[in-house]
């Protein structure tokens, strides 16, 4: 061969090799981009398989994902393997051990027949003309595998081809690893959510049991804690609080009187107005409630503070600490109003419950003194929305009774109270010690 012809042949070979490299590197770049993009997993694997097959001209193939608990390789994406090719393939311990020892490098199927896996699936692999199996081992973990059929050129796989397959396989392995991590995170998040829900349920049941126990001790105010919980919930809802906060307000209401379990039954159940000494004893219940509730890790903030300060008033004339407006925790103000509203609208041994007119006049009169005005407004709004049918909630009807809610002139009375209250009352009462 003449020198010029030799040069020309070499140049053609060199150009072909260069074009092949350019084509392969293009595919490698694309597979990296595909894996780093946040596409759905199935689509990423499908595209990656196309890229592996297309970069080396491989007629058929498939990507499987290994599920460790079932010891099974499950098909994620396949091209040209046929309908008979198994979707799930079991691995035994020896297969897994050998694949891990082999690492991420193509195994020639016809030379690996000693492994149980290739014996069990011999016919399927042969029918689909699978030549290589690449265990996807990343960080010493078997994540899946790639099955590869014959090359369209009919040539054997070269070591160069195998290196390219390894590089691409690593990307697919990373995609599977990411997917596994995400699945694990989702599983743990689900588990945590379930545990949290269980805990919340246990908490709710415990709180309701406590509320029932408190109310049982005080035979004259039976159901009081539950009603205060419901009114607190209704006020919080009118204030536009989130569901968690609304629930927190309800539980603060249920537990506000828990300190009463430390007060002598005869004082609580006295069928007369108690004397000063007994009153001092009874007035210790907010502090006792706080002591009981404070060590507990409540799912809602402010539950112990609501118990401690639910008898404080905006004008500083409440107890136990005589706090003023801004010093009083907000949740305690909500429970305070709910507590007072229930006290006014419930029968007591020494008095009948007050008429609706008296109650709404009292709320108006004490707004800014005992009660936060915007809370009174919220409560009145709740009553109106229930009376008008705008709200499907029936809290007030259930708690106050049909007779009370349908008493004559209630709606205009509440409307008037709301109108007189809302535009003129200052939001906070300013007082100095």
């Amino acid at each position: 061969m003449k020198l010029q012809e030799m040069r020309s042949t070499n140049f053609s070979r060199f150009a072909a090799e260069r074009n092949k490299l350019v084509h392969t590197f293009g595919a490698l770049a694309e597979i990296g981009q595909e894996v780093s993009n946040k596409h759905n997993f199935q689509e990423t694997v499908r595209t990656s398989l196309h890229l592996v097959l297309g970069s080396l001209g491989i007629m058929r193939g498939g990507v499987v994902r290994y599920t460790r608990f079932e010891h099974e390789l499950n098909m994620v994406s396949a091209r040209g393997l046929g309908d008979d090719f198994p979707f799930g393939m079991s691995l035994c311990y020896e297969d897994e051990r050998q694949f891990l020892a082999n690492g991420l490098y193509p195994i020639e199927c016809d030379q690996a027949r000693v492994l149980p896996f290739f014996q069990v699936y011999d016919r399927s692999l042969e029918r689909a003309k699978i030549e290589l199996f690449v265990p996807l081992v990343v960080r010493d973990e078997l994540l899946g595998g790639i099955f590869l059929g014959e090359k369209a050129s009919g040539e054997q796989y070269t070591s160069h081809d195998k290196e390219i397959i390894c590089a691409m396989g690593r990307h697919i392995g990373v995609a599977i690893s990411q997917r596994n991590l995400m699945a694990e995170l989702e599983r743990r998040a689900d588990e945590n959510r379930r545990l949290y829900d269980d805990l919340k349920m246990t908490y709710k049941d415990t709180v309701k049991a406590f509320a029932a126990a408190i109310d049982r001790k005080d035979k004259y105010t039976e159901g009081h804690s539950v009603r205060v919980g419901k009114y607190s919930e209704a006020i919080a809802r009118e204030l536009g609080w989130g569901e968690e906060e609304i629930e927190g307000a309800a539980f603060a209401g249920y537990l506000h009187d828990i300190g009463k379990i430390t007060v002598e039954r005869k004082i609580i159940n006295a069928p007369y107005r108690i004397n000063a000494k007994e009153s001092t004893e009874l007035n210790k219940h907010p502090g006792a409630g706080y002591e009981i509730l404070q060590p507990i890790r409540h799912p809602y903030a402010g539950v112990p503070l609501a118990a401690k300060y639910h008898h404080e008033r905006l004008d500083g004339r409440g107890y136990p600490d005589g706090l003023y407006d801004r010093e009083i925790p907000y949740i305690a103000k909500v429970v305070n109003l709910a507590d007072a509203f229930d006290a006014m609208t419930s029968d007591r041994p020494y008095r009948r419950r007050r008429s609706a007119q008296e109650v709404f006049e009292d709320l108006q009169r004490n707004s800014g003194k005992q009660f936060a005005p915007e809370l009174v407004t919220a409560l009145l709004r709740g009553v109106i929305r229930e009376l008008s049918g705008e709200s499907k909630d029936k809290t007030f009807r259930k708690m106050l009774g049909r007779e009370y809610m349908e008493s004559e002139g209630l709606m205009p009375m509440v409307r008037t109270a709301l109108n007189e209250l809302a535009p003129t009352t200052p939001l906070t009462f300013v007082a100095h010690k």
Binding site: M59, R60, A152, S153
Partner: protein, 105 residues
């Protein structure tokens, strides 16, 4: 981007032509594959993929074309690649596709 389209040349000869777009990638490739499979299912036994308007074929495009070749050979049909540009022809040759299809200049 040129749309993938197809045309039936002659029913009696059982030949259908599918025109590839200007860039054969995943999106257009999958359309070509659908088109080709539809023609094969309709009974055509010669599928001509026309590359006259195609400038570039990437790896995904190659994989899809191999899928078409595989599907056709499974039912004894013939695939013809018509008018690929020299670079594409070289790519088909380099990857061994020319062993399975006829190239018509």
């Amino acid at each position: 981007m040129t749309e993938v389209s197809s045309q039936v040349l002659s029913d009696s000869q059982g030949t259908a032509t599918v025109f590839a777009g200007d860039y054969l990638n995943k999106l257009s490739g999958e359309r070509i594959e659908r088109e080709c499979r539809a023609k094969l299912n309709a009974g055509y036994r010669e599928i001509i993929v026309d590359f006259s308007g195609t400038e570039l074929v990437n790896s995904i495009g190659i994989s899809i074309l191999m899928g078409v070749i595989d599907a056709a050979s499974g039912i004894g049909a013939k695939v013809v690649f018509a008018e690929p540009n020299p670079m594409t022809t070289e790519l088909f040759d380099m990857l061994g596709l020319t062993r399975h299809v006829e190239i018509r200049a």
